[in-house]
Amino acid sequence: MLRLRLVKREQDFLAARVFVPILSILLAFAFGWIFLSLSGFEPGETYRRMFQGAFGSKYAISETIVKAIPLSLAGLAVSLAFRMKLWNIGAEGQIYMGAFAASGVALSVGDASAWLMLPIMLIAGFVAGGLWGAIPGTLRAFWDVNETITSLMLNYVAIFWVDYLVFGPWKDPGSLGFPLTPRFPAGGYLPTLGMSRVHMGLVIAAVIAVVFYILLNYTRWGYEVKVIGESQEAARYAGMSVAKNILLVMLISGGIAGIAGMIEVAGITHRLQQGISPGYGYTAIIVAWLARLNPFAIIVVAFLFGALLVGGFGVQTFGVSFSIVLMLQGAVLFFLLAGEIFMKYRLAFNKEEV
């Protein structure tokens, strides 16, 4: 009889780093296949249309990139915290706070040149997101409060805060009752690529990825993050300030998520509105893990997840619920986490004699 068993690896299996993420994506689609056929859709056709919707035309590709930008930024944001084993689940709230602060600047400054307006909006977004991340950071650094829970809870606070503003004091009187602020003045628009909606945010994400790569691999600070992530006792012994770095990392992590919020309002909606992020902050967690926290891989994976979102919108017209996208995302993460086991174990057949 042939039976499968797990055998402990005596060395980490490096190929699994590439193999497991790819396999988990394939398995997620296989899983979705079963679901689609059970609900009476033609899975192959649905996937084909999703692919078409995401990559089938210039417009489709530009829309995919539009979604990939905030996912990249939020993915980079959480990856930094994850490197230090800080579980920042609060990117969603940090996006909202960044969008709120950037909108506040755009709406109150009035007419000003983009050269002045955009940098101020960017800084405002970074600071607001960063402070939002620094709340769980402070609690963790000085009182050892679990940052997973506090950062998650603050998401709801941020989302409802923005809801309050767009339904209440910041609501555009001319919006016919929709929860929107007035449009930003022209100086608050991010430049776009040609006629598409692809905006400057792409460049910002790429720059941050490069900066991250250099900081984390080639500087003393990157070394500190690495050591603290592995062993706080060793870090203390090496003279590193653990509390300061926890706070700093949460601040930067939140700040970059805040920039994701800023580029959404400045690049796409040009106003603050309800539901400015459809869960980018949560999807970013999957993106960061799938990319194994590598900054460049995050951008690639964010592109794939952007495609999944856009493809999912595309098949709605054929009656397939958008929930299929959320389900596929969840399944990818599920298979990915399950696949971690192959880093430490390998499959062997029973008949194999050792």
Partner: protein, 509 residues
């Protein structure tokens, strides 16, 4: 009639990346036998026993249990054949009771736990083998010696006939060691086989019936203990006669390097760990702190290194007060430290050798070009450390997990010494090291002493104190009882002070 071995391992081979851990090893244990497996660190003892316990699979060779060939795929398979292994780090759940730990993982067939019955069975087993432990006590309330008894009971409860113990005496007090040996004796009398992995010769001579000696992965000899003596065993282990070199006592101590004045240090739980300690260490001398672990040594060392803030008193380095300085400033002033928890504090297990060798100096400009790390410099510095301190490894880019205990300690000590310290503080430097590695570590220390470094050692072995130290400070219950010249004292006097006897004569402080 010929006796049948309960365990027979035949021509076992096992290699790890870059290392031949076991080569053509044959090993036999008979029922009722206490069998010592002796060898230096990295000789392949633990690998061989992990193969027997089902944790690793051999690359070649085979195992027979009671003359039946077996193939273990997991520790559970080995347990089913009656083989249980107790590791140095116990595998107990701290919040569970003794009885719950014992039954955990043993298949009972029912969902409901019959606590009464388990406790009854536990009591019965503990009486039979003299393993005193309260079945309803929580594990976190037990001493390490008691926890070890729980581990033994766990194995007995699962019906083990062959018990493998990896360095079982490392964590025990002398009294607990003799209790353990009584238990092992009793088990042997009742027909069970015990394998002791050890590098302590005196234990082998005291308890074992039979010994197998491993060196560099191969068996270099095996015989009944009755036919052997310590000297023969030592030379088998290290292939050369280790002579316990006595330090050249020629006094070379110079100026006072470290002065501690009325130092009061808090413990983790807020009470006071060290009361008004006074001590002076001069350049070129080795001062040992003797004492039973937990009498304030760790806190004193941490306060000197800058990891713990004293409540009162002063610490002076070369006459300058350093109370207010943080750990990095103290490193830069020349205070280096080898902590007692090597893998928990001194080194970072998942990082590579290069990352670990700059752990305490990464902030210095020598490793950077402008704002960026210069990996060329870091690599060549690491290679220099590896060469200077005879560290055996295959690649400095590999995680330090791959290094053996002796090499880890050489890396750690070498890294600290390489900063040309004025004061070196080191705790339990040779704990868990074999004779040759300990010799190498001592040699490095003596060279440092000759260079004029002041050295403070926390030691547990009295013999080591007499070999190494110029002076010895005895700590008991948070107090530095007395500081004695090693020349003019003897082991009994220090032993008495360690156990709390009143001062036997005041030397200089």
């Amino acid at each position: 009639m010929k006796r049948v071995p309960i365990i027979e391992m035949v021509r076992i081979g096992k290699s790890f990346p870059g290392v031949m851990a076991n080569e053509d090893v044959s090993f036999r244990v008979y029922p009722g036998e206490i069998h010592a497996l002796l060898g230096e660190n990295g000789a392949g003892k633990s690998t061989l026993m992990s193969i027997l316990a089902g944790l690793y699979r051999p690359d070649s060779g085979y195992i027979k249990v009671r003359n039946n060939p077996v193939k273990f795929r997991s520790p559970r398979n080995a347990l089913e054949s009656g083989i249980g292994m107790i590791y140095q780090h116990f595998r107990l759940i701290q919040n569970f009771t003794v009885a719950e730990n014992i039954v955990l993982g043993a298949q009972t067939g029912t969902i409901k736990l019959d606590r009464k019955q388990i406790e009854e069975e536990t009591r019965e087993l503990s009486e039979r083998f003299g393993l005193e432990v309260n079945p309803s006590a929580k594990v976190n309330q037990l001493s390490l010696g008691e926890q070890q008894r729980v581990e033994i009971l766990k194995m007995l409860y699962r019906g083990c006939d062959i018990l493998i113990m990896d360095e079982p005496t490392t964590v025990l007090t002398p009294q607990e060691v003799s209790d353990l040996f009584k238990v092992l004796r009793k088990m042997a009398e009742q027909g069970k086989a015990v394998v002791l992995i050890t590098h302590k010769l005196n234990e082998v001579m005291e308890i074992a019936d039979y010994v197998t000696v491993l060196r560099k992965g191969s068996v270099v000899g095996d015989d009944r203990i009755a036919n052997l003596d310590e000297k023969t065993l030592t030379s088998m282990m290290v292939a050369r006669e280790v002579k316990a070199s006595k330090v050249d006592r020629k006094s070379q101590s110079g100026d006072a390097v470290l002065e501690i004045k009325d130092l009061q240090i808090p413990a983790d739980q807020g009470h006071i760990a060290v009361h008004r300690a006074n001590m002076t260490i001069h350049s070129g001398e080795i001062v040992a702190i003797a004492g039973v672990a937990g009498n304030g040594q760790r806190e004193l060392v941490e306060a000197i290194a800058g990891l713990r803030t004293p409540l009162a008193g002063d610490i002076l380095l070369l006459g300058e007060k350093i109370n207010h300085m943080d750990i990095r400033e103290r490193v830069d002033m020349g205070i280096t430290m080898v902590p007692e928890d090597r893998m928990g504090m001194g080194l970072v297990p998942n990082l590579n050798v290069m990352d670990n060798s700059i752990l305490r100096a990464y902030h210095r400009n020598v490793f950077s070009s402008g704002p960026f790390f210069n990996y060329k410099k870091i690599r060549s510095y690491t290679n220099k450390l590896v060469k200077d301190y005879n560290i055996y490894l295959s690649d400095v880019a590999h995680p330090i997990n791959y290094l053996s205990g002796g090499n880890l300690q050489k890396l750690l000590l070498g890294r600290e010494i390489d900063q040309a310290p004025r004061l070196l503080v080191a705790s339990y430097l040779v704990r868990g090291l074999d004779v040759a590695a300990a010799e190498a570590v001592y040699k490095i220390l003596l060279e440092e002493r000759a260079r004029g470094t002041a050295i403070l050692l926390v030691l547990e072995d009295l013999d080591d104190i007499f070999r190494m130290a110029d002076r010895v400070a005895v700590m008991y219950d948070g107090q530095v009882k007395d500081i004695l010249d090693v020349e003019s004292t003897d082991i009994d006097k220090i032993g008495a002070l360690m156990l709390g006897a009143e001062e036997v004569g005041v030397n200089n402080a």
